[in-house]
């Protein structure tokens, strides 16, 4: 352990002796510099290690000059100071390394001096216990940063520097004023001393003014909203290495000083400051960043927003009246926020320097080539945007959980800001991951960014560990281990077949682990996910070659997170895995070559859903119980919370008003993933919806109205999506709408909340997996062979792919619900359930929707398989073997279930009983005869009847048939003309043009357009409001004074 004074002294000495050392040459100077940094870092690390392991328990107090504290200046290193110093020195070292290896603008020794001074100043600022000394260190830091900011080759850094100087001077004026006035009126400069003399009752009058002045000086440095124009200019104009250390380290020092001063001064209105300035800063900068074109300024907005959030958190931590576990959560939230921001943001700034491109649009395709860079960038962006399992996610979660319930609006606003953050961050990600001809070369060393990311990853695991430790949520260790295994798959990126086999292995192992699970709701879905996942992942191999090496790890990750959802016992853990699923599926969808925009919409909708769920969960918490289980309800809020939680599930199911993401995301996602997206992932919405209806809705006041509304939504979804599907020209988009439409039926079943309804919903869930998995897998194979998903380009493939056609036909028959196969039983159950409740209008719409569905069923069969075969497909082969196997397995399943529905219904019965209903509302007779109140349905008889009648017809035909000649493809009665090419006689484009004339008002994308209008409206507004930052120094300074006056006004008059 090293005396903290030594750190400061040695750094100071080294800094000023560099001027002499430069005569020995550049290398020598660098050596001295690195030695100093190394020494400092190891020193603070040893102290921090001492705190971490518990060897040091009390803050280290150092007297200077032998005077005892109230009289002499002293330093105090506490836990957080030490940690922060480690972070600052680490990032400082990384920034210095980055800068020195940049190669083009080698910093002169002066810059190294300034760098050392900067680190020294900020360390001193953290350590000092004296208000005036604090001012001195602040000034050292500021002057060093003025110089460093000005040191960029770009002349605009001078402008930034000058703005910084002026605002910084004003700020330090206030700090100094506060400090000396404190001395005058408080009688001491020592923090502890003053703290002991101040009681909150003394506030009012002079002390209030002084405290406000002092804290206000620090607030300016913390870049809060109306007075942060200069900070954004620095982010934009200065050298990224300097910005990285400023944003990643120094500002955090100011933050610590601010929080500490507020505590010592016992300032009573710190929460109000947080709520007014912190929250405003957070929201405003998250929205202002939407239309930002300069990437560094965009990150600047993000940094400013994070600082606002931190100030808000500090407000809650210091003045929010938190006690016990809440306080611990908030502290952890703050620590995680700080760490997340420091490491992610500095990485991002390093990367901006490596690419050297400022305009966002020019970042197009940056990440295409470089695997490492892509990993670093994605990790940082994901962590910044709060994606699990990165540290930002846990910070946000702790934060939301810790906020007292009466501040629910804060939760809503913060989550709103988080959505806004996702919007612009992933707009950026969309641009960077899209295809482009641009060629980029990395200028500089990638080591600092990698080191940062490594630390970030380690911290992410640590923070996740802490989360589970503190919340006492139990998570299946097996599951986590298997998720870890996904990383191993990631490493095997060079061999696709290895990845495939490993993925299958993991899924089979999971199935083996959970083989004895109870068949209740969770167990049912668990088996559903694993069996379905295994079958569908089996089919992915041939098509996976088109996609990135991270396809399989993410696939396994998303499937396993679905398992996590099914295994969840509390709402919070459900939320965690829900987010994991959303993010990993987003990353997979994003791999589709045209899916960039689509996946962005999907992510934003998912985020809205996820955060709605989180705020709903927040409402469910009561008192000390911050992790509500499924059974816990806080009666007062339960209607709202049920609706909020339901929003998430509805969005995932893509029902009527929130369906806008579905078409593009399904249509453009990787072909191997679409079956899983449609067959399993959207069923997680079903799972959640059942949970909500069973556990939450019974406690609400208007449950029957809500349920009827849900059923209506479901029915309208089923109808309109079926109608939309008929007018799509892309096979996957047809199936996308079809999926959504089918999920609408399931929603009706859930909303019925009767045993028959649940049976129908569960049956249809499995059935939908069977036939939609079959259809999507077959389509994946077809696209793989033909290379197109555009329907008018296909046709006649029955001649080349008979097996696929057979399977596809069975899938379509099941989809349409035509008797002998398994589709009909689901329809029958659903209609019986509706009849039982006498929901006539829902029944009418649902049945009508199934009629409308025939339109797209025929369209799919015809345009893909029938009609004329094109010349270019004359040599097309049958789909690859894995896909063919999966097709046949699923086709066999639909046939088996069609004859014997009890294969599924046995399971769903158990689920319905475990949900607390007396029985399924129907009875069996001999495993294939279902009897309900209204009649019965004998699947076996129907199958025998249909097959028998078919055989009779066939026999009859062969008895009387004429001499049959199979003619050629183009040999059609064509008015005596000889068709010249298959294309000229193939009818495949816009099959329902005539229908469009009848239904055109209904099929215009009203919802999509209105969402787009809202988005564009907000974007245009924030784009205009951004002009608040005029770039004029006087205006910036003026806003500082105006804000000060505002603060004085509201606090003095007690308006707020």
């Amino acid at each position: 352990m090293v005396n903290p004074v030594v750190i400061i002294a040695i750094t100071l000495m080294a800094a000023f002796s560099i001027g002499i050392f430069q005569f020995f040459g550049k290398k020598f100077v660098r050596g001295v510099f690195w030695l100093t940094i190394l020494f400092d870092f190891s020193a603070v690390l040893s102290i921090a290690y001492g705190f971490l392991t518990g060897k040091i328990t009390k803050p280290i107090m150092v007297k200077i000059g032998g005077f005892p504290p109230p009289i002499g200046i002293n330093l105090s290193v506490d836990r957080f100071g030490a940690y922060l110093a480690v972070v600052i020195f680490f990032i400082g070292a990384m920034a210095a390394y980055h800068w020195l290896n940049k190669g083009i603008d080698d910093p002169e020794p002066k810059a190294l001096v300034l760098m050392l001074l900067l680190l020294l100043g900020s360390t001193g600022m953290i350590f000092t216990q004296d208000f005036f000394n604090l001012f001195v260190f602040i000034e050292i830091t500021s002057i060093a940063s003025y110089g460093l900011v000005a040191s960029n080759v770009d002349w605009s850094s001078l402008e930034a520097s000058f703005k910084y100087i002026v605002i910084g001077s004003i700020s330090s004026t206030f700090v100094l004023l506060g400090a000396v006035l404190l001395y005058k009126f408080g009688g001491s400069l020592n923090m502890l001393d003053i703290s002991s003399k101040i009681t909150p009752s003394r506030y009012g009058g002079v002390l209030m003014i002084i405290a406000i002045m002092f804290l206000f000086g620090l607030l300016i440095e913390l870049e809060l909203f109306p007075m942060n124009g200069w900070a954004l200019d620095i982010y934009q104009g200065a050298n990224p290495a300097v910005v990285a250390i400023l944003a990643g380290g120094i500002v955090k020092g100011f933050y610590l000083v601010f929080v500490r001063s507020a505590i010592y001064l016992k300032f009573p209105y710190i929460l109000k400051i947080g709520l007014i300035f912190g929250l405003t800063t957070y929201l405003v900068s998250q929205f202002f960043a939407w239309k930002q074109k300069d990437i560094r300024r965009l990150f600047g907005y993000s940094s400013v927003g994070q600082l606002g959030l931190l100030v808000l958190a500090a407000g809650f931590y210091v003045g929010g009246g938190l006690q016990g576990i809440d306080k611990t959560y908030m502290l952890l939230a703050i620590v995680f926020f700080v760490l997340n921001h420091s490491f992610s943001k500095s990485t991002l700034f390093f990367i901006t320097d490596l690419i050297e491109e400022k305009d966002i649009e020019k970042w197009k395709g940056v990440l295409k080539g470089n695997k490492l860079l892509k990993t670093l960038f994605s990790t940082s962006v994901l962590s910044m945007a709060g994606a699990p399992p990165f540290i930002g996610f846990w910070a946000k979660l702790f934060f939301v959980l810790a906020i007292p319930k009466q501040y629910f609006y804060v939760v809503v606003l913060v989550l709103l800001g988080a959505v806004a953050e996702i919007i612009y961050y992933f707009n950026l990600y969309r641009i960077t991951s899209s295809d482009s001809e641009n060629c980029f070369e990395i200028k500089g060393s990638i080591v600092p960014a990698s080191m940062n990311t490594l630390v970030l990853l380690g911290l992410s695991f640590l923070s996740g560990y802490y989360f589970f430790l503190y919340t006492r949520i139990s998570v299946s260790t097996n599951l986590l281990i298997m998720m870890g295994a996904a990383i191993i798959i990631y490493i095997f990126g060079f061999s696709r077949i290895f990845q495939w086999v490993l993925s299958l292995g993991i899924l089979s192992y999971a199935l083996y682990l959970f083989k004895n699970i109870n068949i209740n709701l969770q167990g049912f879905f668990l088996l559903f996910i694993l069996v379905g996942g295994l079958i569908l992942v089996f089919a992915t191999y041939p098509v996976s070659k088109k996609y990135s090496w991270s396809f399989y790890p993410l696939l396994i990750f998303s499937v396993l997170s679905m398992v996590g959802i099914a295994l969840a016992k509390e709402w919070i853990s459900l939320f965690i895995f829900w987010e994991l699923m959303s993010w990993s599926s987003y990353l997979i969808i994003n791999q589709g070559s045209k899916a960039k925009k689509a996946s962005w919409v999907y992510l934003v909708m998912s985020a809205i859903g996820g955060y709605a769920m989180l705020s709903g969960i927040k409402l469910l918490t009561s008192g000390p119980n911050l992790v509500p289980g499924f059974n816990s309800t806080a009666m007062r809020y339960s209607t709202l919370s049920a609706i909020l939680i339901f929003t998430a599930f509805l969005i995932k199911m893509a029902t009527a008003p929130v369906h806008i993401w579905a078409r593009e995301a399904y249509g453009e996602s990787p072909d191997g993933f679409t079956p899983i997206l449609s067959g399993i992932l959207s069923k997680m919405g079903v799972f959640g919806a059942i949970l909500t209806v069973v556990y939450l809705l019974p406690h609400t006041a208007h449950s029957s109205v809500i349920l009827y509304g849900l059923a209506l939504f479901g029915a309208l979804t089923a109808l309109f999506m079926a109608l939309f599907a008929a007018f799509q020209e892309n096979v996957k988009k047809v199936l996308a709408y079809s999926s959504v439409s089918q999920v609408g039926y399931i929603l009706i079943g859930i909303a019925l909340a009767s045993s028959l309804g649940y049976s129908a919903a569960l049956y249809h869930t499995v059935n939908h997996l069977i036939f939609k998995g079959l259809l999507f897998v077959a389509v994946a194979g077809i696209i793989y062979r033909t290379g197109t998903s555009y329907l008018p380009e296909m046709g006649g493939l029955i001649r080349r792919m008979p097996v696929t056609f057979l399977a596809f036909l069975m899938g379509i028959i099941t989809l349409a619900g035509i008797p002998p196969l398994s589709g009909f039983a689901g329809k029958w159950l659903l209609y019986s359930a509706l009849l039982e409740k006498k929901w006539m209008f829902i029944l009418l719409i649902a049945m009508f929707a199934s009629i409308v569905a025939f339109m797209y069923c025929y369209k799919l069969l015809h345009t893909i398989f029938l009609g004329q075969l094109r010349d270019k497909y004359i040599k097309v082969k049958e789909v690859p073997l894995p896909i063919a196997i999966v097709e046949l397995v699923l086709a066999g399943l639909t046939m088996a279930v069609g004859i014997k529905p009890s294969l599924i219904l046995d399971f769903s019965d158990k689920v319905v009983k475990s949900l607390g209903f007396y029985g399924p509302g129907y009875a069996y007779q001999g495993a294939h005869r279902i009897v309900s109140k209204f009649g019965y349905w004998n699947a076996y008889f129907m199958a025998v009847f249909a097959i028998g009648a078919f055989i009779i017809a066939l026999v009859l035909f062969f008895l009387v048939k004429a001499k049959i000649r199979k003619v050629g493809q183009l040999d059609i009665g064509y008015s005596g003309e000889v068709p010249d090419s298959p294309e000229s006689v193939h009818f495949g484009y816009d099959l329902y043009a005539h229908m469009r004339r009848a239904v055109s008002p209904f099929i215009s994308p009203i919802m999509e357009n209105s969402y787009k209008k809202v988005y564009n409206g907000i974007a245009a507004f924030v784009d205009y409001a951004r002009r608040f930052y005029t770039g004029d120094l006087n205006t910036y300074a003026m806003w500082v004074i105006i804000t000060l006056s505002f603060i004085f006004y509201i606090f003095y008059k007690g308006v707020f």
């Binding site: 006649g796 006539m840 009649g935 009847f945 495949g988």
Partner: protein
């Protein structure tokens, strides 16, 4: 069970004879409406015999080959799943409790099969016709479903047998008089179901050749012909069961189905053709509004 199958075959044969005869009568009546003499009422029999005894036939592929069988299967299915004479062990066929939904879906079976076969022939007209048919189906099914669901809720059953027995006891107990508006909607929908004028845009002779079976010939065509006749009879019986109180003996069944048949023929004989979207719009406005009157009455009750 075996005797049921035997009688089932007999019903199919009888239904075919009746269906062909009705077709012939329809041609005769239409001719008379046009001021012509028209063919004999047995013309359809002759046509069928000729088609069966054609010497050659062509095939375009597997689906093309199987489609007539599906069509026939659909016809047989519909005919055998609706009870012709209720409470008769033989002539209630294979109907069972819950058959209404099954029949609704089985009706699609034959159409879908034919559509697939037509599409497989590779003739653009054949492919075009089913899209018109499906669009029109989306039109007429709405009023039809309104009437069917209305009746099912009103009588609390999805069994045709129960529906029929609920209408026994006098002519005023028929759904035609109990729920007149539902019946009107249902019968208008039936016109669309027959795909004859004014809703004949599917076949649309002289416009898209002869619609789906453009490429079909000889034996294949004879099967389609048979299936269509059976299908027609099945639908007449279905509507008889739904609205006209079913039948207690065979004679009554003949009379009632013939009455429905005459209704259809007299409408189709005099109207020109709707375009697809006109037909759809028509179905979605007048019959729906009419049907909803009774539907809401049942809903409130």
């Amino acid at each position: 069970m075996w005797y049921k199958i035997l009688y089932g075959l007999l019903v199919v044969v009888g239904g075919l004879a009746y269906g062909l005869l009705l077709g012939g009568i329809s041609r005769k009546i239409t001719a008379r409406l046009h001021g012509r003499r028209g063919p004999t009422v047995f013309q359809n029999y002759i046509d069928l015999i000729k088609l069966i005894r054609k010497k050659t036939a062509i095939s375009h592929g597997t689906m093309f080959f199987l489609a007539p069988m599906f069509r026939l299967l659909g016809g047989i299915g519909v005919l055998l799943l609706v009870p012709i004479v209720t409470k008769s062990a033989i002539l209630s066929n294979f109907s069972f409790g819950g058959d209404l939904i099954v029949v609704l879906y089985f009706m699609v079976f034959g159409c879908l099969g034919m559509a697939l076969g037509a599409a497989d022939s590779g003739h653009p007209h054949s492919a075009l016709a089913p899209t018109r048919g499906l669009a029109q189906m989306a039109g007429y099914e709405l009023p039809f479903l309104i009437s069917v669901i209305g009746l099912a809720i009103a009588h609390n059953t999805v069994s045709l047998g129960t529906l029929v027995s609920a209408q026994q006891g006098g002519i005023l107990h028929w759904n035609l008089f109990q729920y007149p508006f539902l019946s009107i909607a249902g019968f208008i929908a039936m016109l669309g179901m027959y795909m004859a004028y004014p809703f004949s845009v599917v076949m649309a002779p002289q416009e898209i050749a002869v619609g789906p079976p453009t490429e079909y010939s000889s034996t294949f065509l004879s099967f389609m012909f048979t299936g269509r006749s059976l299908f027609g009879v099945g639908k007449y019986v279905l509507f008889m069961d739904l609205f006209l109180g079913g039948a207690t003996n065979l004679l009554e069944a003949f009379v009632k189905t013939f009455a429905i048949f005459l209704f259809v023929v007299f409408i189709t004989g005099v109207f020109p053709r709707y375009r697809t979207e006109q037909a759809v719009k028509f179905f979605w406005t007048y019959p729906v509004v009419i049907g909803l009157i009774d539907f809401i009455r049942i809903f409130i009750k």
